[in-house]
Amino acid sequence: MIKPKTKGWFAVTLAASLLLSACGSSPGDTQATSGAASSDEGGEKVSFTLGYASGDPAARKAISDTVQRFMDENPNIEIKDISDNSASSYLDWLKTKDAVGEFPDLVEMRDTEVFADAGKIVELPSDLLELFESPPEVEGKVWNAPLALNVPQGIIYSKKAYADAGVTDLPKTYDEFLAVQEKLKASGISPLVVGGKDIFHMGFWVNKFLIDDVYAQDPDWNSKKTAKEVAFADENVVQAMTDFKFLFQNYVDKGWLSTPDNQTASILVSGKAAQLFSGTWMFSQIEEADPNFEYGFYAVPDREGHVNIIGLPSPAGWTLSAEAAKDPAKTDAIKSFIRYFFEPEQYSLYLASLNGIPSTKEKVEYEASPAMQSALDLMNDPDVTKSLAINNWWGDNLIPPQFRNWFYKKLQEMVVGDGDVADYMKQIDTEYDAQVKANSM
């Protein structure tokens, strides 16, 4: 039953609610932070560059504010933020920075294995490991200080639009979800807004269907695909992409291909569209766009009524560059910053800005909306299958780094050109195999 929005203050012990053990801050942590700061006070000025995916305005502001506070408290450490929020692809930007010799000293790493293999990054210093609750390992090594745990993606809907369309209950199966889309469409509103201009945003839907039909049953599907034991042309993937195509051709707002991710919140709150499929980081953007907008959040079930979401940890987060690690002073400064960033009073501000789930051992609290509570409930529900997006797996399940964007673009082409799904999946198989072969040369 959908209830009117009742926004209140939830003192959320997020780490505890996720069954993560909450440990108090050790005196050693504090000493390490203040020790680094004080040792810098009389010494020479240390400077390092910082790069991160700054597409989300709220997260960008939270990080830059933290950086500023850190520099105010540590006048001998200068952080040069070289992030670029206009880049459409973070990997493109990072690679370009590397090509011109400006690879950030401290970088938000997402393609960890690729850059680790290339020798561009180093393992997370061992004394920082104590900050985190089971950080993901790649071949037994921890490379990243995770900025937050992966959060679930789901439908963020306008309660008014649902009420106007006569939708009183949230869907329990995918067919019920489609029935809701029909009702919304009949009420005269565009059911779904998609920020397809940003390729990653389109991936939210692609991965929802892939997780339902592929990864929920077989988390090792990627490695089997690489070994040619399974194929995109298999029935389950074709079904997933058929559902994707049907949804996009029938219920997605017409301008989706030229709508960037950062316009989706405005379109939702303006009443032009009824729903948005995204992650919890959008909540703050929506509230900023219209503080009075009433919205809810739920995960889209599959045909059998199972709920499968993104929620497994993946190797991503703050990472030291190999170049910076050669300089002990720089390394110390970076370590000081990482400790500062994950201090509860700092980290809670960052998490609140994007409704994130903490990755630290230490308890972190911030105000959470009812929608965020729904997301946390999903994460805590043992019956909900947790998985990852196609490009977030690692080890044997790592896909060729060039594949994801090509795949999403191919799917755009399939939708707008009304292409035959089975035929497109065969083309995608050919390209995947070619990329695996090219990478092995």
Binding site: L91, D98, G196, Q402
Partner: protein, 310 residues
């Protein structure tokens, strides 16, 4: 044996040759600094990239593996590259024709208009001052489906049915890029044509007027043939610029929707940087270089033949 007269002739010739050689050395001295810099920063890296095109280098790792002609074989077979080549050719032919037609029309107007000559000249030239990136952002905002001015105007005047996703529809995305690029580029070529027009002797037009030639006949038989020099320059420059178009595509469509506006230069960037295939991207860049070279040489040969001297 030479006669005294021929000896004197030889002496004069040798003197003039020495003078010429001295002048040449002097000229060489002037171009030497830029020649050294050009060699260091353009020629040497370009030659270095030839080797990379035979490797599978990902652009970030230390390991550079030689793979022979595999990259070129993939270029030959890749449907994505074929699509990018097709898009590049469509874009180039359209841009070269439209930019030059628009530039000639604007130059004729500015040349003949009696009032506000400088105002028109400035207005037409102004878009060329914008960078491709700025121009791309401006047009992407104007043509935005949801909040763009263009669709809002269409809606306001009752033509809401025509308000489409200009940059998200594969049928219109390329047209939008072409028209916005013409808007930006035509003013530059207008200046070259204007210089050409102002160099045409006025007597020719006066004589044609006396002979009763119409405006079109004067343009067809006098003005246009005498603009051949400007035409050669503008055609070559606009062809090279169209073959290398990048900024507008990166900003306005990111090569999409799908691969609908992906060109050779854009695919070079995408595979080289975004897809971690620097070796393949370099091989593609070499192919583009050869393509530009061939097209330019053929174009210059053809256009030079029809140049008129007076």
């Amino acid at each position: 044996m030479g006669t005294p007269a021929s000896t004197a002739g030889l002496q004069v010739k040798s003197k003039s040759r020495r003078k010429k050689s001295k002048a040449n050395s002097f000229a060489l001295l002037f171009i030497l600094p830029s020649l050294v810099l050009y060699t260091l920063f353009v020629i040497v890296p370009t030659l270095g990239s030839v080797y990379l095109s035979f490797t599978s280098w990902d652009g970030i790792s230390e390991e550079v593996r030689f793979i022979g002609l595999a990259n070129f074989a993939e270029i030959w077979q890749s449907p994505r590259v074929h699509n990018a080549l097709k898009n590049t050719l469509i874009l180039t032919v359209s841009l070269v024709l439209l930019e030059n037609i628009a530039a000639i029309a604007m130059a004729l107007m500015v040349d003949r208009v009696r009032w506000f000559k400088n105002l028109f000249r400035s207005l037409f030239y102004f878009p060329t001052l914008l960078s491709g990136v700025v121009m791309g952002f401006v047009w992407a905002m104007i043509l935005n489906y949801n909040f763009g001015v263009f669709n809002q105007i269409l809606n306001a005047v009752g033509l809401g049915a025509w308000a489409i996703d200009w940059l998200g529809n594969p049928d219109y995305a390329m047209v939008s890029i072409i028209l916005s690029t013409v808007w930006k580029g035509a003013g530059y070529y207008m200046i070259i044509y204007l210089a050409g027009l102002q160099g045409i002797p006025a007597e020719l037009s006066e004589a044609a007027n006396i002979d009763g030639a119409s405006g079109w006949q004067q343009f067809r038989f006098i003005t246009f043939p005498l603009l051949a020099g400007s035409l050669t320059v503008c055609m070559v420059l606009s062809t090279i610029s169209a073959l290398k178009i990048f900024d507008q595509i990166a900003v306005m469509t990111d090569g999409g929707p799908g691969f609908a506006t992906e060109t050779l230069t854009y695919i070079i960037y995408k595979v080289g940087f975004g897809e971690l295939r620097q070796g393949f991207g370099t091989a593609l860049a070499l192919v583009l270089f050869v393509l530009i070279l061939i097209v330019t040489v053929i174009q210059v040969q053809i256009l030079r033949k029809r140049e008129v001297r007076y």
